[in-house]
Homo-oligomer: 354 residues x 2
Amino acid sequence: MYKIAVLPGDGIGPEIVPEAVKVLEAVSRRVGIEFQFTEALVGGAAIDARGIALPPETLELCRQSDAVLLGAVGGPKWDTLPPAERPETAALLPLRKELGLYANLRPAFLYDSLVEASPLKKEIVTGTDLIIVRELTGGLYFGAKKREQTAEGEMAYDTMYYTRSEIERIVRLAFTIARQRRCHLTSVDKANVLTTSRLWRDTVEDIKGEFPEVTVEHMYVDNCAMQLVRRPAQFDVIVTENTFGDILSDQASVLTGSIGMLPSASIGGAVALYEPCHGSAPDIAGQQKANPLATILSAAMMLKYSFKMDQAAAAIEAAVGRVLAKGYRTPDLYVPGTQLVGTAEMGQLVRREL
Amino acid sequence: MYKIAVLPGDGIGPEIVPEAVKVLEAVSRRVGIEFQFTEALVGGAAIDARGIALPPETLELCRQSDAVLLGAVGGPKWDTLPPAERPETAALLPLRKELGLYANLRPAFLYDSLVEASPLKKEIVTGTDLIIVRELTGGLYFGAKKREQTAEGEMAYDTMYYTRSEIERIVRLAFTIARQRRCHLTSVDKANVLTTSRLWRDTVEDIKGEFPEVTVEHMYVDNCAMQLVRRPAQFDVIVTENTFGDILSDQASVLTGSIGMLPSASIGGAVALYEPCHGSAPDIAGQQKANPLATILSAAMMLKYSFKMDQAAAAIEAAVGRVLAKGYRTPDLYVPGTQLVGTAEMGQLVRREL
Ligand SMILES: CC(C)[C@H](C(=O)O)[C@@H](O)C(=O)O
Ligand SMILES: CC(C)[C@H](C(=O)O)[C@@H](O)C(=O)O
């Protein structure tokens, strides 16, 4: 029996998360492994009910679970709060730090039937199948920060801080993932300018001997942002620090069609967290317009990374592929000639294909 | 009479820079304003000849000139040097800092006849005409850095440091540019995470009243990286800090076809510097394959920003448009049905259209 903490959050969260839960239930019946789901408040919903974006009982539930499934957090209702107190920041950052989730995995994979939905030309996007491994508990996000009034005026700083051991663990993880894929690792940094990037690059060089089957390439972050648009199919696994990973993974997320398709896993601690890459999309919340596939595919990542149920994970991915191939589309992916469906209907279609 | 320092640099630099110089000479004859060109060493060429990427006499020449035209620097020959000592870093960063070039302007504009060369679908890229205003002498590039061995192991940091006045000057410049264009400014930051971004956002808010005709929007950098791929035509002027600007401007540079088309201006000091966005492309150097248009368009920016010769600048841009419309292409832009030309030939075609 596995305990799964379920945090629907805000906006479309409460619509998409149940679809993923039902997919997990279908898998559970099939393979005879029991999942016990417990819901808790997070984000704006938690601010409204409890006055805090990450209530201690939610954190405690996560700690006592085997995996966490999160919907999305935030919305215009809380945008009057200072940026640092908004649900996204005030819930997600402490959750990652407290659970020790130092690695964020974001695959960007082109489903054949979604070529039309990509902003890229067919010949450019074809063959795209990459995963970004983003460091998630270091760098500018968690280094020393200050804003102050000095004799010369107001100033502020943020510190991009990394230790060698922080870099080692994420880089080793990325190599391990590359070894299970196409054995190509692109380490992204800005070593011509940043001291942390030089430490990063040296660490990659020191570790690469442990993974002789993997070829490693170093790429500057500005070049990587360019290459992701020009020739995304050249990448297999990309590993990079927190801020660069934030930017590049969002960029990569739209290449393959819709960010509504893309799952993520945050791993490295005792409990891992799974959530779609997209946000809470308040503009379409409550209208059955949201694409539940990113959350369903996040549940597949949970099966793979938390429960070692690789086959069941692959079965979900294949089911999603078949539903898309049959022409069913939520509004974010709709093009003339396809069949428009709502959130719950899409969830049902996937379960039927399982 | 205007004095122009000419720094061809490395790789394709010595092939493309003369084409831009000849275009300036053609303009000079036409409008009766004299330009005096003086060449100097920079980058790898300077390392080889003088043992240093930015020799003091080169810097001195720049200081005594009215504008600087730079080709490109760097190449595999110097890649065995530590990243910080390579020509790009060791020449460009001190040049920017010493000349006080706090603003880097990078337009990304779609020439109608280049739609085919864009990695984006026609309906996505059509209408793209934006300019990125990147802060160039602050942030992680120039903040305190350190790498050291501590009791707990090796660590390193870089500091993203900004004062309010550094932000004010770049933001005011961006507003001024927006006012001369379509009056829309997107300020890009990561205010949900970074203290410097909060100072940045507050400064933009404090300044916007001075430019009532300009509408301002704040956008997170990760979202901007996504929007640049999804809907690049939504942007007019983007203003952002140094590192974000480095990444986003490289990303934007490939949207409209080829980075071989895109000029840049680094302004803010007594003397401004103009250079193509692309690098020294050592793989095609000396083969007459390089596209000189980015450098020629950089010369047009020089006429506009340093010499207030807006008409002459527009004439060059129009000439480039006509040459492309007639189907002439350097190899970076070649598609079947167009006419392949070399570097010098392309320069000549532009001068003929002037
Ligand atoms: C909401 C924000 C703090 C977060 C981040 O920057 O990490 C988000 O953009 C993400 O990528 O999950
Ligand atoms: C070469 C490098 C230091 C430079 C930068 O990062 O500024 C380059 O990428 C650029 O954008 O001009």
